[in-house]
Amino acid sequence: MTKEKMLSITIDNKKVSVRPNQTVLEAARDNAIDIPSLCALPHLRAYGACRLCVVEVDGLRGFPTSCTTPVEDGMVIRTDTAEIKILRQEVLKLVLSEHPGSCLFCDQAAECKKYMGTIRKVGVTTGCRYCPNDLHCELQDVVEKVGLAESSYPVLYHNFPVEKYDPFYDRDYNLCVLCGRCVRVCSEVRLNSTLSFKQRGRLTTIGPAFDRSHLDAGCEFCGACVQVCPTGALASKVSKWTGKPDAETSTTCVYCPVGCTIRLQVKNDQVVDALPDYSSEVDGGLICVKGRFAVPEYVNHFDRLAKPQEMTSMGYNDVSWDDAAAKAAEKLKGLGPDDCLFVLSPQLSNEDLFAAQEFARQTVGSEAIAPSPMFELGDDLLPFIDLVLRSEPYALIDQAQAIVSVGFDSRFGYTPIGIATKKAARKGVFLASLSFPESNLDMLAEVSMREEPGRWAELLKSLIDCVSGSGGAIDGDVGRIADATRGASPVLLIVGPQILSAPGRADILKALLEIREKLSWKVIVAHPYTNLLGMLTLGAFPGLKPGDIVRNGPSAGAVSLRFDPVDLNKPRKVVYLIGEVLPASLPP
């Protein structure tokens, strides 16, 4: 491995050694010279709009922006001359002349912060509610860094109405400084392009083009824009007024099998926000609306049970943990194996699953363990598990020569898979999408088929015939897919959760398995059963012992999987729901 040749530059009269292929801004920050900037971000392309990071470079005319200037060997850079200081202050004054800066200019700021909490019957907080970003605002930081003390330019208040009728986050463009980060992250990182600059001159603002609503414009409510906004213009509803978090914990989202990393923001021991982790090897920071916004909202929801309750003739009563355990133990004592049914949730952690099946098998001696997928999939359970067990890691999408997606839409889930697919399609890889009523991949798909799920099995069958050359339709969409995929390798088949609720599901699964075996396509299954693999590994299925599946080898697949039959319709004395709700199909 050849080591990168380091470059030598002089910055503020100091000679330093820097890596090649970076900007002057990055090189300066690596060397403890913190040039202020509002629009530059590490994972966004160089933009050069705010003009705060200007520097002087020998040999370059004027004041180039350090965020767009690549370092070159022998460069001489000055970041802090008197002229630059004044220029930065003037530019910042202009920025502030379009940004209501009560946090900076208000006479009462200090006093106000003393009276933030209040003792009243109703939970009300006092204090400045002018801007949600107060005390943790990038613009405030820049003002401090640049050392601006006053400005005499008249402030223009645009008087935009605050946009708060969409879920999850509010938009107050009166606070927007037009750094463009939101537009860029939506377009470059999320490959969604919902946001754009509108109008020009003094009327420039940001929003979906043609004045469409966010939903109509395809917004996935992923919150990437909210996180990059340096002001309070974009703010998550749930964490808007909670102030600066005092701790952060990284954890794994439980909404789907992708298992993205989310960084929980904690304040006063409460979860107030969930942010992506762009350095995560699992998802690269491309989390979906569920992990981003649903987590903090559900965790703190007032309907969520936080204490054990017992149902009495008068309704639910709070009981202590000890009492609850004792009462439950009483009910379970002396039960025979056939008297209970254990219903398990696929969202349980591995530890919980192990404990659950241990309890059922060792303590009660029962094999009546029924994970909820059993109820939902019935006879299709085994073929489905077969597909899942041989599902490929989604990193394979980068190498695909052709991609076909069935029943998949990544707007509100499985976003790393969706974005990798969009990236491939943009590079020119063939993409076909079969979905109903539509999929967010349609826009980039060369062939997009919107067909009723009832027809999918037949379409897939004809595709198999067409590709393998044994007859079948040569015209139309199926023909085009066949032409594009015949001879390509690897071809990726992305299976989405829409197939699980489709009529003719059994036939669809059969066709998908055939595609995998006969056409040798690689399959990626996007399904809602978060820890299905954990359930299989830890024996949370009737007749499957912990570790069995590992012992039998990965190639065994579902062929050798055999679950003990459990009569789901038999009346039981006790139904023990672990992490689950009562399946609708159970007899009362």
Partner: protein, 626 residues
């Protein structure tokens, strides 16, 4: 090659036949300026007259020959006689002219402005000896107004595409050498040496390269590029082929503003004709050079004349400029090496390649070779499109060519919204890139607006800032916000609400915007303000301190009054006043009610030119508010 030679021969024969016409030819200047003056009606009228008088004649629509103030121009060429040009023809005078010159072969010399023959003729001066034309050196505009822009054969007959033929006989590097030696600088405004940009592009590796022609011409009032394209589209296209060959591009794109429908139509037509003649497509003129041209229409944004914003627009993105580096010559359209040249730069190339660099060096001066087209407008007597050698002085342009002003000269604005206003002391400055820049202005694309004492310089600065503020794309802070502040200050000053520290604020803001902006629009937007502050400071001070507008333009600072001693009470003004502000009984001096007066100038103009008194209404500075 043989193919073209044959066609050229045929074209020259055709042209000769036209020149040695056996039947009358009537040329009508029907480019946009001619049409605006009424040429379309005259065209229809001519055709009707010919039918009614059972006369056969060839009617040719030509482009713009330059003196817009003389439009509509109708030229008549009878067999055996030189072509005679009639100016400012109206539907009333046309039949008289046709009757005499076509009907009786007698030129109507009372209404003729000039002729195109060699010697004197019938007391009519030679067109090219007219004071407006004589000092001009028409290279780029050589065919405008003379050939039919819709006839490729006319272009071929006047040695069109010979420049391309010469270029294809050299190596691309040699072509760049010729352009280097000729000293051609970009005519779009920046004046960057054309060969330098081309060399960078030539040396950048890449299979696909692009040549883009910037025909956005966004400067308000500029029409040099439009005239050239409407009057002689092949000049531009031949230039594009030469440039494309030199840099190694296979695809040419003309980015033309949608507001030029006639120019767009002419280009489509010309491109079709080129294809027929084997001048576009594969193996042009039998060489290894293959080139195609397509058009992309703009959509109403001045900022898309900036080269990186133009590229974004062609790529289908919002027209916002990109930071440089990387420069377009290295990484431009779709990431490929791209050269963007102005219409005039490209239109000059055929002449350089046809006649040689040494020939081109005869014009202009060291460092500023060749000629430049200018649109000379404003308070001069003779307005129009002119072409002069670089180094000609402003005095020569304004007074010799332009015929001077009726009132005392005040200022000349050069370079459009990116340029500045220069005062009297600069009249003897040569018009070249460096001199204008040293004075704080720029050459720009060639707009020259002459102003006299009736122009308020603060109002002019406000007009240009209003334009740049509206056209700012909004990407960078200094331009988007800074121009708004400057505009607000200027508006206050013109409303009589200026403060003492406004001038300092204007300078500070101007400085910030110039240094901090991302692209040329922002970097040059403060120029009108900064130059007017420099050379007309007193006028600003008068507005602020005295509340006085010496040009009596700024409405809040002036009032209209009747001079009782002169007013004859003829009621002419009363009839035209839209608000009933001016009143008075017949035969008695009238009166203006300042509360109703909207300062529309109707009474002033009427009294001046149509009423008995002639000068009874004056516009004066308002009484200073206490």
């Amino acid at each position: 090659m043989n193919n073209l030679t044959k066609r050229v021969e045929a074209a020259k024969e055709k042209w000769e036949t036209l020149q040695q016409n056996k039947e009358p030819i009537i040329y009508i200047g029907a480019a946009s300026c001619g049409r605006a003056a009424g040429a379309v009606q005259l065209l229809a009228q001519t055709n009707r007259w010919l039918k009614e008088n059972e006369t056969t004649a060839k009617v040719v629509q030509v482009g713009c020959i330059g003196p817009c103030y003389l439009e509509p121009l109708v030229d008549i060429q009878m067999p055996g006689q030189p072509r005679v040009s009639y100016n400012n023809v109206t539907p009333k005078t046309l039949p008289v002219i046709l009757g005499s010159h076509v009907g009786e072969s007698v030129p109507y010399d009372k209404m003729a402005i000039g002729h195109f023959g060699k010697d004197s003729y019938n007391g009519i001066p030679r067109f090219y000896d007219l004071p407006m034309l004589k000092p001009q050196v028409r290279i780029v505009l050589r065919n405008c107004g003379l050939i039919d822009p819709e006839e490729i054969d006319h272009y071929l007959a006047v040695d069109g595409y010979q420049g391309l033929a010469n270029a294809l006989n050299m190596s691309p590097e040699d072509v760049i050498g010729v352009v280097h030696h000729a000293g051609l600088r970009g005519r779009g405004g920046a004046g960057f040496p054309t060969f330098k940009k081309w060399t960078v592009c030539r040396n950048t590796p890449g299979k696909q390269k692009y040549l883009i022609c910037n025909a956005d011409e966004g400067d308000p009032g500029a029409f040099m590029n439009r005239s050239l394209i409407e009057s002689d589209p092949h000049a531009l296209l031949e230039g594009m082929l030469i440039a494309g060959y030199a840099i190694g591009a296979s695809q040419g794109i003309i980015y033309i503003r949608a507001e030029y429908p006639l120019a767009i139509e002419r280009l489509h037509q010309a491109i079709g004709q080129m294809r027929e003649y084997g001048l576009l497509g594969e193996h042009i003129l039998g060489s290894d050079f293959s080139f195609n041209v397509k058009l992309k229409e703009g959509a109403g944004a001045f900022v898309c004349g900036e080269e990186t914003a133009l590229i974004q627009s062609i790529e289908g993105l919002r027209g916002m400029p990109r930071s440089r580096p990387p420069f377009p010559a290295i990484s431009g359209l779709h990431g490929c090496p791209t050269i963007i040249n102005n219409v005039e730069t490209l239109g000059t190339l055929p002449n350089i390649l046809r006649n040689g660099a040494d020939w081109y060096n005869r014009f202009g001066k060291e460092g500023n070779r060749g000629t430049k087209t200018f649109s000379l407008v404003g308070k001069v007597r003779r307005q129009g499109l002119i072409e002069v050698q670089l180094g000609t002085t402003l005095r020569q342009i304004i007074f010799d060519i332009g015929g001077g002003l009726q009132k005392p000269f005040k200022a000349i604005q050069t370079g459009g919204p990116s340029g500045g206003c220069l005062s009297e002391e600069f009249l003897d400055q040569p018009v070249d890139y460096e001199s204008l820049a040293a004075a704080g202005s720029i050459m720009g694309s060639g707009g020259l607006i002459v102003m006299d004492e009736d122009t308020c310089i603060v109002d002019v600065a406000k007009y240009f800032l209003d334009f740049t503020q509206k056209e700012s794309c909004g990407k960078c802070t200094p331009c988007r916000v800074g121009t708004r502040h400057i505009l607000e200050i200027l508006e206050r000053i013109t409303h009589g609400e200026g403060h003492a520290d406004d001038l300092l604020a204007l300078r500070t803001l101007g400085d910030t915007i110039k240094k901090g902006s991302l692209c040329g629009l922002g970097q040059t937007a403060p120029n009108p303000v900064l130059t007017t502050l420099r050379y007309f400071r007193n006028e600003y001070l008068e507005h602020i301190k005295d509340g006085r507008c010496r040009a009596v333009v700024c409405k809040d600072l002036i009032e209209y009054r009747v001079i009782k001693e002169k007013c004859t009470g003829c009621q002419a003004c009363v009839r035209v006043c839209p608000t009933g502000a001016i009143t008075g009984p017949r035969s008695e001096p009238h009166n203006v009610d300042a509360t109703k007066c909207i300062k529309c100038r109707s009474c002033y103009v009427t009294c001046r030119f149509e009423a008995i008194a002639g000068d009874a209404i004056v516009i004066r500075s308002a009484e200073k508010k206490s």
